[in-house]
Amino acid sequence: MSGLSTRERPTREAAPSTGLPRLLEGVPAQGAMSLQAHIETHGELPSHSRRDRRGPAALIDNIEQAGLAGRGGASFPMATKMRAVAGARGKPIVVVNATEGEPASLKDRTLLETLPHLVLDGAALAARAIGADEAILCVCESAGVALERTARAISERSRLAGGSPRIVLNVAPEGYVVGQESALVSHLNGKAPKPTFSQPMLFERGVRRRPTLVNNAETLAHVALIARYGPRWFRELGIAGQPGSTLVTLSGPISYPGVYEIEYGASLTSLLEAAGGTTAAARAALFGGYSGSWVDGHLLGGVALSDEHLAPHGASLGAGVVLLLSEGACPVAETVRVTRWLARQSAGQCGPCVHGLDSIASVLEQIAGGTRDRHLSQRVAALTGLTARRGACSHPDGAVRFVTSALSVFAHEFSDHARHGQCDACRSSREMPLPMRAGSVRAA
Amino acid sequence: MNAMVAAAGPSAYWYLTRSSGAVALVLLTLALVLGVVDIRRWSTPSWPRFIVDSLHRTASLLALAFLGLHILTSVLDSFAPISLIDAIIPFAGSYRPFWLGLGALASDLMLAVIVTSLLRRHMGHAAWRRTHWLAYASWPIALLHGFGTGSDAKGTWLLALSVGCLIAVIAAVLVRVADGWPHQLGRRAAALGGAGAFTLGLLLWLPSGPLGKEWARRSGTPASLLGHSSAGSSSSSIDSVVSTGGASDTTESGR
């Protein structure tokens, strides 16, 4: 098990690196890696070997053997998805999801800003493997730098030799639910970026009624390397249940917060060390994003970064978000702020989500401000029961998970606030990031 | 020849057209009122919402049935030159083209509302809803059609019926607007304004319009069907028979 990514890299060899970094190999300190540098670092974009009778689809087998799962949070097996789309009727189309609506996540944006050709390679390879002639790369409208650099990278590639599928850049509106697969496809079809609940499935009919493969940008970056170095190389890092490396966004009271590449199963302690250590004691850590779960600070010493290691703590890695909350912050104020934001992010299509999240946020606000009502905690429990699993997408479920784990881990602070009202840190506590503009898709 | 036809009195078709038209108007009014009750989600233990919804649908289908009868009998009635096309394409006929055309327009709108409702599953909900609002447009057009083409405007029972339906619809619209679009006062004002303007306009127009003199001629009844106004009393009674179809102001000829 090798260590974590440091910022310096060893001299480039012809063979792939045995440890980390992998994706972040050669990441430039400023600007994006040019096409030239990308080819020097990783080699040319592999075309399928003519000896391989399976053709471009051989890549799918390799991805299956590598055990690559989606990096957008759902961890769906990539090969299964590709086969479903490849087997559907009609000309497939690839959608690269780099919208990254999760406020605490920066990895996809970072990939596009610094290593766009990895993602573009992956998109081209995936398209070829499933027989698609077009890939649409979706970036959030607020990610100006990523948009600009990706556009430049795409034009750099126009020099590349033939057969490369057409790659088109699409600007998606800001919003938490915009990155949901069906919402994104809906946007690409010219409609509001809201999750759909009517059949058929996207792998059969998605963008322009074609079989559609929607993938997180990072997942495709891994595809670019698996195609070059093979599944066995990929599995050299990580654990049996979650092979390979992944990007995590580390934030909070850390010396060097930011995007890091880890292997699955690495300890949180080693990640923190690589990031220069913490600058303040951590009250708790949030894993997975604003639809994830909290783990108490006392337990963090024994936490390792993989779904199976986090499961006993009631958490999962999700889209690679690791957010530490300092002892000096007010967890109640932070939870209330984020929950109200999550409520506003509802697409507004399903009654239980709209009303449920709004009611939950209101009750939490009441508790945070001090209340004599002893039934409020029961009220929240009742509301979470009414809200979860009753929407067209998993947004309400995620929000409920976030709130439930906050109430559990921060039980002491919540009862304290209920009895005594706001604390000194309430007003100033703003450690958990939220987008500046209140981008909501509800009005669409 | 026309005089002989007139002297023979209005045909059975004429009566059927008139009565089925009246029934259609009542049913259309009922459907609209029930539609508002439906969307307002009113219910009691003995009148659950699915019953109200079912009644609304039934009333509109019945209205459609009577509309069909109304159109059929008006075409079959040999008195006025109305062909089937005139029932579909508005304003192209030769008998009171404008007022008849309004009927065709109202029918077209009604048909659109009903057909889209039957095919709801295949439209988006939003598209269905917007089309359904055409119902609010079809009603006043149907009412105007009734006043304009009707031969009985001066007959008290039909006038009373029409006014009764108008009151019911105004009440329904008020109820609907009272709680609709809580955040869009502009829309509510527009809806109320429209309803108010229509009612006011109607009340101002009626006395000089269908309730006034020689409406048949002014509304576009073909000259060949009108008697000569310079003729004597007998022909003026024929005139009134021919143009009004012999309602309350006829005496011995026609009914």
Binding site: P352, R390 | R49, F50, R120, R121
Partner: protein, 54 residues
């Protein structure tokens, strides 16, 4: 309306939205369940392999 037609399997939450009993529909209620699903103005109910899903 669905809760009126199928109170055995559908209850309403405090906002008037249906709470569905997720167990399989008993055979004698299948027709009513279908009717309840059709009655929904926004087609929010689906009968899925004999299991209604909200």
């Amino acid at each position: 309306m669905c809760a009126e037609l199928l109170p055995e399997l559908i209850a309403l939450d405090e906002w008037g939205y249906p709470i569905i009993d997720e167990r399989p529909i008993p055979p004698e209620l299948t027709d009513l369940a279908r009717r309840a699903a059709q009655a929904c103005p926004t087609f929010a109910l689906l009968i899925e392999r004999d299991r209604p899903r909200g």
